[in-house]
Symmetry: C2
Subunit: 212 residues, 2 copies
């Protein structure tokens, strides 16, 4: 409660993968799973799965397995996604719109509470029932919205300024889609989603595989 365990980021990423899988299982009315089954379905090694869970506490019993609903609830709580979180999206282009309309976010308590853009053609229009707000009013608006997470979906040339303004507006975490390395204060955490990076890794893997 009063001290957070030092959990490696890859463990957190895998927890989110397990959660995704557990949600699918629950929808298929599966009650319990084994770590071997987790490995078969997610491609993540069974020993790794048990180690990831051990950072938090041991649950699951050898030979009995894990209760799907219980494990799902536990992981959601660990990741803090069992409670509502307000998120703002900056950039209302195709990507920003896709994120605002992404059904999975609301289901996991990530509530998009504001969308910002700089284009006079977009400001004042709505997407998915949200008014597009002027990005120059980010600070005033976020004083009301109180989002601590912002998604940056603006072109690379605008991203650094947007990140700084978001931080000044009280945002503590940035999910950055712009292909640029953001420089932010230590108070702000950043995760980057790079389509190019993902494709580059796939590109390498195809060729490495061909050479086998």
């Amino acid at each position: 409660m009063n001290s957070a365990p030092k959990v490696p980021i890859p463990t957190l990423e895998r927890l989110a993968t397990y959660l995704r899988y557990l949600i699918d299982l629950e929808a298929s009315n599966v009650d319990t799973i084994s770590s071997t089954e987790v490995e078969r379905q997610t491609g993540i090694n069974a020993a790794q799965f048990r180690k990831d869970l051990s950072y938090f506490r041991e649950f699951g019993k050898p030979g009995v397995g894990y209760n799907v609903v219980e494990l799902q609830t536990r992981i959601a709580r660990i990741l803090q996604i069992d409670r509502d979180q307000s998120v703002i999206v900056i950039g209302a282009g195709n990507l920003g719109s896709a994120l605002v309309g992404y059904p999975g976010l609301g289901e996991h308590h990530f509530n998009i509470v504001g969308v910002f853009d700089s284009s006079p053609h977009k400001i004042g229009t709505t997407i998915f029932d949200l008014d597009i707000l002027d990005v120059r009013t980010l600070k005033e608006n976020n004083a009301l919205l109180r989002a601590r997470i912002a998604i940056i979906a603006v072109p690379a040339s605008a991203a650094q300024a947007v990140a700084e303004n978001a931080a000044a507006a009280g945002v503590r975490a940035l999910l950055n889609f712009a292909p640029i390395i953001l420089k932010v204060s230590d108070r702000v955490v950043v995760r980057n989603v790079s389509f190019l990076q993902e494709l580059a890794v796939l590109s390498y893997q195809i060729v490495a595989d061909v050479r086998k």
Copy 2:
């Protein structure tokens, strides 16, 4: 040339990050960089940077640093993104459209050669000068297009079938945006981009940080 080194995937991911940074540096007319400077700018440890490069060959000299253009060229070649690669996008919603229009891909030789959708309202219309093709014609069309990489930007309910059809159509690598764990043959490599996962990790990090 005839045997691919066994390179960890996190190394490949970091290579793509270095590449991003080197491109920014070249645009700013910086000639050489040190591993310390790489650490300061990308947040990736200098020793890690040197280790990542050592998988391929040693370049850069202690006290002299790395030539920005040369290193960029080398990394692009390692990742196989110095040559044209054909990519198809399946799903022409907001997300698919964002990917088709994403300027960074073409710059790195990832050429989107086809877009597919199942909606009669979309098939036959164009986005960014590409005709939207009927996803049921994936196999016939990819016999001509010959893309080995496909981006899956369809709803979760359609993703598994789409992945199987893509594999049957000769696709070897899938970049999957649907929130589902795809089951594919060993011949196909998959990378998943999960907005939920990214937000969940940020969510944990904010709270862990608050507790420090």
